[in-house]
């Protein structure tokens, strides 16, 4: 890949804008509320776009394209039943408690609703997970930059050794993210997430249009793929009749209820953008506003994967032509991994033998993560290629920034102010927040470098996150909607849910996987058709165990007096009044409209 001056200028301009926003906001960061909560003064539209963009990190943009190539349109369930209902639920039912309680973070809400130990448990696990997530984003971005040879030309021109590209990519992204968060705090992160939203659309929409044009439109795409790839719901009654290998209960309960709600309703990474809104009405609208573009994002991030697998596989070709009696041979050389792959998705080649790697059933392993990046290289000429790469890098950095701002807030408010140094001045906590940003970035860099040396560190971390995240939704659901739930119950439920998730993983294994990181490390009691099915059912087990243990322990322990639960529990909290708003301006009306469109999209692509 050869980048021209225009491509470089486009990337450079993005970095200038990102840093410019940070510098412009620095003088408005006067209190810790400005720095950590964006002054709770932002309009719903800005927070709404940031809400969706905070989730548009590396895993989303590259991962959804990869899943699209691997599983087809069924991947859209992550949106249709995973995200949209959960975003509606958090906007309509949960935001009044998050925003109305005046909690500055999700762990702080847990302290108000339950007790100090539940908060400490959540704050510690969340803080560790955010810096590791940020490190994974950094590592993935540096690997992608290496794979696409983005900086190769620059390094050659400067006479630097190409081995330094990985370190250079990590340091560059770390410095940029550090500077703009250090200067402008959460506001800076939110504004950059809004910028990133526009870049993703500008960078990916022409990719989808060109891909569809090349393959012969929607009809051509359908003709080039197996039937099951082009349906969301076909064959979901049984695990063996759909590409994802998951049946309807695992899908609806595991993805739709536990994992989707667990992420969108409890993860402070996204909730913090809604809590930065100027008032309760805006805070409730934030997830609903975000749900509108979210419904259509499968067309931008999943479709490139489907197109990549559906297009013809390139092969080395030689064209002979005769010009004025002179015979020319034009040879287009395609690398071995591309020729051995499927469509534009390359095969994984063993670096030692130079042969394609095979799975347990002898089929070639495909490098699905390269589906979307290869589409960019296949269709984008100069200028737009720079824009596409900028959109990719923006998504990686935005993912990092969201994690780092969530980390600095939770570290400062929930750990430092609560357990290390109480009663200091506001200026002191703001300084701690800034230095926590530096610390978070340094830990992220360390994680990214650790990922080089430990092959399975990314998979291991994702697995640990799933153990911690899966049961969380039960805690919040019971906390907000059952006044009898107690702090002891919540704490015991969280520990039991996480332990249950670990045991489930240790006792089950997907078919065709080897024991170890994929499961079965205690003994194999059950085989799942796919790793996705194992994930979804693991989440269902973790949620159920947490729910049952929380209820049982709560019934045997003393609850908070009802007077202390006003504003924290649904039945004890006055409902927000929207009498002053016309019916179609009320959050509930918007929620119903979104739900109807989501159902229509599901029926259309069923």
């Amino acid at each position: 890949m050869k980048l021209t001056l225009v491509d470089w200028l486009i990337m450079l301009l993005y970095f200038v804008f990102v840093l410019g926003i940070g510098f412009a906001l620095k003088r408005y960061m006067k209190t810790s509320k400005d720095f950590f909560q964006a002054g709770r003064a932002l309009p719903a539209w800005i927070c709404g776009l940031a809400f969706i963009s905070a989730n548009l990190g590396a895993q989303e943009v590259i991962g959804m394209g990869a899943s699209g190539a691997k599983y087809g349109l069924e991947t859209a369930h992550f949106y249709g039943i995973g995200a949209i209902p959960a975003m509606i639920f958090v906007g309509i039912f949960m935001m009044p408690f998050y925003y109305g309680s005046k909690a500055r973070s999700v762990p702080e809400f847990l302290r108000l609703r339950f007790d100090e130990k539940t908060r400490a448990l959540n704050a510690c696990s969340f803080a560790v997970m955010t810096v590791f997530s940020s490190g994974i984003s950094m590592y993935a971005m540096a690997r992608l930059i290496q794979a696409l040879h983005i900086f190769d030309g620059l390094f050659m021109a400067l006479g630097w050794p190409p081995q330094g590209i990985f370190t250079f990519s990590i340091v560059l992204s770390a410095v940029i993210v550090l500077l703009y968060i250090f200067l402008g705090g959460l506001t800076s992160a939110i504004y950059n997430e809004v910028l990133q939203f526009f870049l993703i659309i500008a960078g990916f929409l022409p990719l989808v249009l060109l891909g569809l044009k090349n393959i012969g439109g929607w009809g051509g795409l359908k003709a080039s793929l197996p039937v099951a790839y082009m349906h969301e719901w076909k064959g979901v009654m049984h695990a063996n009749t759909n590409p994802m290998g998951i049946e309807i209960i695992g899908l609806g309960m595991g993805l739709g209820f536990v994992l989707g709600s667990g992420y969108w309703c409890t993860d402070f990474l996204v909730i913090q953008t809604a809590m930065a809104s100027k008032d309760m009405e805006s805070a409730r609208r934030v997830p609903l506003i975000a749900a509108v573009p979210k419904m259509f994002f499968p067309f931008l991030v999943i479709l490139p994967g489907l197109l990549a697998i559906g297009l013809p596989t390139p092969h080395t070709t030689t064209v002979v032509r005769n010009e004025a009696g002179v015979i020319y041979h034009d040879t287009t050389i395609v690398s071995k991994e591309v020729e051995e792959g499927r469509g534009l998705v390359p095969a994984k080649i063993n670096p030692v033998t130079g042969k394609p790697m095979l799975d347990a059933s002898g089929k070639p392993l495909l490098d699905y993560d390269m589906a979307t990046p290869n589409m960019l290289l296949h269709f984008f000429p100069t200028g737009i290629l720079g824009l596409g790469l900028t959109a990719l890098m923006a998504s990686f950095m935005s993912g990092m920034a969201g994690n780092v701002t969530a980390f600095n807030t939770v570290f400062t408010y929930d750990l430092y102010q609560s357990y290390i140094h109480k009663g200091a001045s506001d200026r002191h906590y703001m300084a701690v927040g800034r230095w926590a940003t530096v610390g978070g970035i340094l830990f992220s860099i360390a994680t990214a470098f650790a990922a080089i040396n430990f092959n399975n560190i990314m998979d291991t971390l994702q697995l640990v996150f799933s153990f911690v995240n899966a049961p969380l939704f039960a805690t919040f659901l019971l906390g907000m909607f059952w006044k009898r739930a107690t702090g002891h119950g919540a704490f015991a439920g969280l520990i039991a849910g996480t332990t249950g998730a670990m045991l489930h993983h240790g006792l089950t294994l997907p078919i065709e996987a080897h024991t170890g990181i994929h499961g079965g490390w205690i003994t194999v009691l059950h085989n799942y058709p796919s790793d996705m099915a194992q994930n979804f059912w693991g989440a269902i087990f973790a949620f159920s165990i947490n729910f049952i243990v929380t209820v049982v322990v709560s019934l045997f322990t003393k609850p908070h007096p009802e007077s202390e639960l006003v504003g924290l529990v649904h039945s004890l909290t006055p409902k927000p009044s929207h009498a002053h708003l016309k019916w179609w301006k009320r959050p509930e009306a918007l929620a119903v409209a979104i739900l109807l469109v989501a159902v229509a999209l599901n029926i259309f692509f069923a």
Partner: protein, 73 residues
């Protein structure tokens, strides 16, 4: 923008306009010289020209709609 009086939408408009102009301009150069990058498909559709133009127009719309108002004393 956060009390400065300059909305973030204005900055987005500026960025999109500059990107649009750059991509459109380079698309024109490519079309005139016929010098397309090798291995890239569908260059005959001149994507940089129409997509650069669309980005530029959307950017201009945002600049005009969200331009900072001059403060009256």
């Amino acid at each position: 923008m956060h009390g400065s009086g300059i909305p973030i939408w204005f900055f987005i408009g500026v960025l999109l306009t500059v990107y649009g102009v750059m991509i459109f301009g380079y698309g024109i150069v490519e079309a005139v010289t016929g010098n397309y990058p090798p291995l890239v498909q569908l260059t005959n559709l001149h994507t940089p020209i129409w997509w650069g133009g669309i980005l530029g127009l959307i950017g201009l719309f945002y600049i005009v709609k969200f331009r900072p108002k001059s403060s009256s004393k």
